[in-house]
């Protein structure tokens, strides 16, 4: 990891440790106040616990122009970003995609192209509905590795993270604690429950927390929809398309709508928030990731809406193409944050149960 970023985070953490006014805002500060000397592993863990709510920045009496020049959200964002690049496997991919919106866009276009190519080359082999455009077995051949590879890669990254942060063997209660925190996005609630300072400087608002929840639960609903569809296909011999009053649709449509609304709000908030309280170099990559999620969700909804029209094959290519770029990029884009966040929350639960 980059020494200068760690050194700056260490300098700031030492000042915070002598002050402690922000103790109630989030999980970062109780963890920080337990240390006296900050190892690289401590700082990596603190950085991944930080949800960039910015409460500590606006409350801080030592921000610029004060000579101590504190900007903890930024210092931790930079270390966090760097840790994701360091732990990624294969490493160079994260180095390219984390920061570059352009490369994410290129990957998405490549995804479209691959799908169009597959439609041409592989075709339907006699299927119906979507499978009239591309056969089910061809879809599985393309998407199964695209889904499994990132999981394998993330697994390696999390192992590296766990080693770096001196993680202990995981108990169910640690995992439960972490999921409860993530489910409520507790670390964006500001300690007092009024929300975070992402939207409008020192005004507390729930905007980012709610938008994030919409995307997260929307994504989980869509994921559940696909999983249910897969089970129905294989176990019940009920291939797609599914009608409106079916489980895949009842999960997928609200999920898609939540994702569309959430990503639009997140992108809007991100445009207006102070870039200098995050990792400015990663802004483009983060924004492109939000837009890619938006595209996945919107194209999925449109595919449902236009499923019986001539536009269907094009929409199918756009939807599957964006999914095809989204999944393999998971370990190397902002999407990885969910996994690291959970790992950090599990690690923090271990710290709390020890204390």
């Amino acid at each position: 990891m980059q020494i200068d970023l760690l050194q700056e985070a260490r300098r700031q953490a030492e000042i915070c440790n002598a002050c402690r006014y922000c103790e109630g805002y989030c999980s970062v500060f109780p963890a920080l106040h337990e240390e006296r000397m900050f190892t690289d592993g401590n700082l990596t863990q603190l950085a991944n616990l930080c949800h960039n709510c910015r409460g500590c920045y606006y409350a801080c009496q030592y921000t610029a122009p004060h000579e101590f020049d504190l900007n903890l959200p930024k210092a931790l964002a930079e270390v966090r970003q760097d840790s994701w690049e360091t732990f990624a496997w294969p490493g160079p991919l994260a180095h390219w995609f984390q920061k570059s919106g352009v490369l994410i866009a290129v990957a998405t276009i490549v995804g479209f192209a691959l799908l169009f190519l597959a439609f041409r080359a592989l075709g339907s082999s006699g299927g119906e509905g979507f499978y009239a455009v591309l056969s089910h077995s061809a879809m599985v051949t393309i998407f199964l590795p695209a889904f499994l590879f990132p999981l394998f890669s993330i697994g390696i990254s999390l192992r590296r993270y766990w080693r770096a942060t001196d993680g202990k063997s995981v108990k169910m209660s640690d995992i439960f604690d972490a999921f409860v925190s993530a489910a409520r996005m507790k670390n964006l609630a500001g300690g007092h429950g009024d929300g975070c300072n992402f939207e409008d400087e020192d005004r507390f608002s729930q905007a980012r927390r709610l938008a994030h929840q919409a995307v997260m639960y929307g994504f989980l609903l869509c994921f559940a929809s696909t999983s249910v569809g897969t089970l129905m296909h294989y176990l019940l011999d009920m291939p797609a398309p599914y009608p409106l009053w079916s489980l895949p649709k009842l999960l997928g449509i609200p999920g898609g709508i939540l994702m569309v609304l959430g990503t639009v709000k997140l992108a809007y908030l991100k445009l207006n928030a102070d870039k200098d309280l995050g990792a400015p170099s990663a802004w483009g990559g983060e924004m492109a990731f939000i837009l890619l999620l938006f595209l996945v969700a919107l194209s999925g909804l449109l595919l449902y809406g236009l499923g019986n029209t001539a536009a269907m094959p094009t929409m199918l290519a756009i939807h599957l193409g964006s999914v095809l770029s989204f999944f393999p990029l998971t370990p190397y884009t902002k999407m990885a944050h969910g996994f690291y966040r959970l790992a950090a929350l599990v690690r923090d639960a271990q710290r709390k149960s020890k204390a």
């Binding site: 440790n17 002050c19 109630g24 106040h33 409350a59 122009p65 300690g191 007092h192 009024d194």
Partner: protein, 461 residues
Amino acid sequence: MTITCDIAVIGGGNAALCAAITAAEKGAKVVILETAPKAYRGGNSRHTRNFRCMHAGPLDPLVDDYSEEEYFEDLLKVTAGKTDEKLARLAIRTSEECLPWMQEHGVRFQPSLSGTLSLARTNAFFMGGGKSLVNAYYRTAEKLGVTAFYEANVIHLELDGDAVRHIDYTHEGEAKRLAPKAVIVASGGFQADIDWLTRAWGPAAQNFLIRGTPYNRGVVLADLLEQDVQSVGDPTQCHAVAIDGRAPKYDGGIVTRLDCVPFSIVVNKDAERFYDEGEDVWPKRYAIWGRLVANQPDQVGYVIIDAKSLNLFMPSVFPPIKADTLEELADKMGLPAEKLRNTVESFNAACGDTSDFHPTELDGVATSGLTPPKTNWARPITEPPFYGYSLRTGVTFTYLGLKVDESAQCSTANGPIRNLWAAGETMAGSILGQGYLAGFGMAIGTVFGRIAGREAANYAN
């Protein structure tokens, strides 16, 4: 541009904001004249962390209860009786209703901070500290139609008989004049004016550090005192503590405090000890060390500890100076090496049985036959590496201020000034003759800020 308003509040910290909000809620058109730029608004309030609050029964976030009598006794102990009982009891009694009022106006509290559990019953901690309180109050004030001008430097209040006629100030490089119906002064003490401190203290004050805002220069206070507005307090009295000598001249705030004195020996620049470092637990002693250090040559002290004491106290912002021998440490700190060795050796020789050593309570582990003695936590300094910190006097705020009555109103020898009120540190000397009680400054500011706002609004309406 001429501004019209009912009430001008001079100052932009806690007391000023409580006054402005209260007056605006009563329908008055209020203007805040804050001398600091926006980034540094809030005076010393931005460095504060809690509010000392009387309460009968648990009052979120405070536990148990804290009665008027106990609160008042705590005040008597630190001020050695130098207080105005009527005003002090008014502040104490009213503090209880202030806490919910603060919450209604945007302030959020958090449980007592790690390292301050002893205050969980008496002091309510602001979530995020004083700057977040200040931010919340500015948001609330803005919603109520209060206008805040930053970098608005008030130079003069024209006092004519029993009323203030107008205020002269500069803003954005232009001289301006404002003639409000009523004026509230909440612009703090004069501690950032080192020349004034020097006149009061003598040349020693040149070496003092100012823990808080550099903007409390006492301009308005001096202007009013010149016009014979009644004052209270002694210009040499202030809240002063011993802080890290490497702290910035201004605005170092909380992180520059050092809690290691009880586990150390403290010497002056001649490497001589001068006071019992183990007299009492640190929260009860840190405020006297500001004055002790101020009385030493060059107003500097040096804390010496060894390896076994390094982790017994809260970390501070600057790492200690570290050396493998006492001579090397003396060298790095600019102390006479041989003298320091002699001082440490005679201290070590005076230490006795240390098996009862207990860092968080008075353990009676004392020296014998040493002057001055160390009466608790006396363990020989023998285990390298050795660590040192320099100590200087850090002034929080001065106590010389405006004398007010129970309605926060100012007066001259001829009686009350009809349209002038004062709140916060600028009148706290009425209650704090000497000494200090943690969180009491914010209590005085909130209580008297609200009184001043109410009275001024009643007058202006």
